[in-house]
């Protein structure tokens, strides 16, 4: 699956996107965040406070219990500040 990072989430992790293949027990956004947090100190810092991170699956905002699969594009970012 493709994972994308924006704003300070991207800054902390140091890359804007990556292809990952998490284990089978990663089934939703919340478990994907926990698994990603173990990939590097930057990932750990970005996901240290999961409540501060928002997610989108395939270009739609979604909640932590939203399912994720190998063909999905999942993005993580802070609350939006456009307009």
């Amino acid at each position: 699956m493709r994972v994308m990072y924006f704003a300070w989430v991207r800054h902390k992790i140091g890359i804007s996107q990556e292809e990952v293949s998490p284990p089978a027990d990663v089934t939703d956004v919340a478990s994907l965040m926990r698994w990603l947090a173990g990939r590097s100190p930057g990932h750990a810092e970005a996901f240290a406070q999961p409540a501060h991170v928002r997610a989108a699956v395939n270009h739609a905002f979604c909640q932590p219990d939203h399912p994720v699969g190998p063909d999905d594009e999942i993005a993580f970012f802070p609350p939006v500040t456009g307009g």
Binding site: F6, A7, A56, H59, P79, V80, T81, G82, G83
Partner: protein, 150 residues
């Protein structure tokens, strides 16, 4: 059908205004909101990041919702990204309708939703080279929320 643009370049508000009038005799009012980069705290620039692909989809959904709620003859949303200096425009919302109330309300609705529903992030840059990500505001959530109740 709304006009949606996500672009780095400045926009021409007069041309967008004219486009909403072109070939129509039923436009009684056009409401507009232009969001502008303030020079807060000696800001050097805002840098706006967005999520290409999702941004266009989110803006089109917001505009379609405005067209469902109000009787509009046209609707234009342009949001810039990249580096934007103090005094430069960031976002333009134009809504046209036969009646002023529909134009005014839908314009306010769109800008309130844009603040909370479009994947943009602002970073402030200062003359000394430092920067900071702008935090989301609780008041923006409240402003968007009032339309949910409507």
């Amino acid at each position: 059908m709304a006009t949606i643009r996500v672009q780095e370049a400045p926009f021409d508000q007069q041309a967008e205004h004219a486009a909403l009038m072109a070939g129509r005799a039923d436009v009684g009012g056009i409401a507009a909101f232009t969001g502008i980069c303030r020079a807060d705290d000696g800001l050097a620039a805002l840098v706006l990041e967005h999520y290409p692909g999702m941004t266009e989809r989110a803006l089109a959904e917001i505009a379609a919702e405005a067209e469902r709620r109000w009787s509009l003859t046209g609707c234009t949303v342009i949001h810039r990204f990249g580096r934007i200096g103090p005094g430069e425009p960031i976002v333009l919302v134009l809504t046209a309708s036969a009646h002023r109330q529909a134009a005014l309300e839908s314009c306010a609705f769109l800008i309130d939703w844009l603040k909370t529903g479009a994947p943009f992030w602002k970073r402030e840059e200062f003359p000394d080279g430092t920067g900071r990500w702008v935090d989301a505001k609780a008041e923006d959530d409240a402003a968007a929320e009032r339309w949910r109740r409507a």
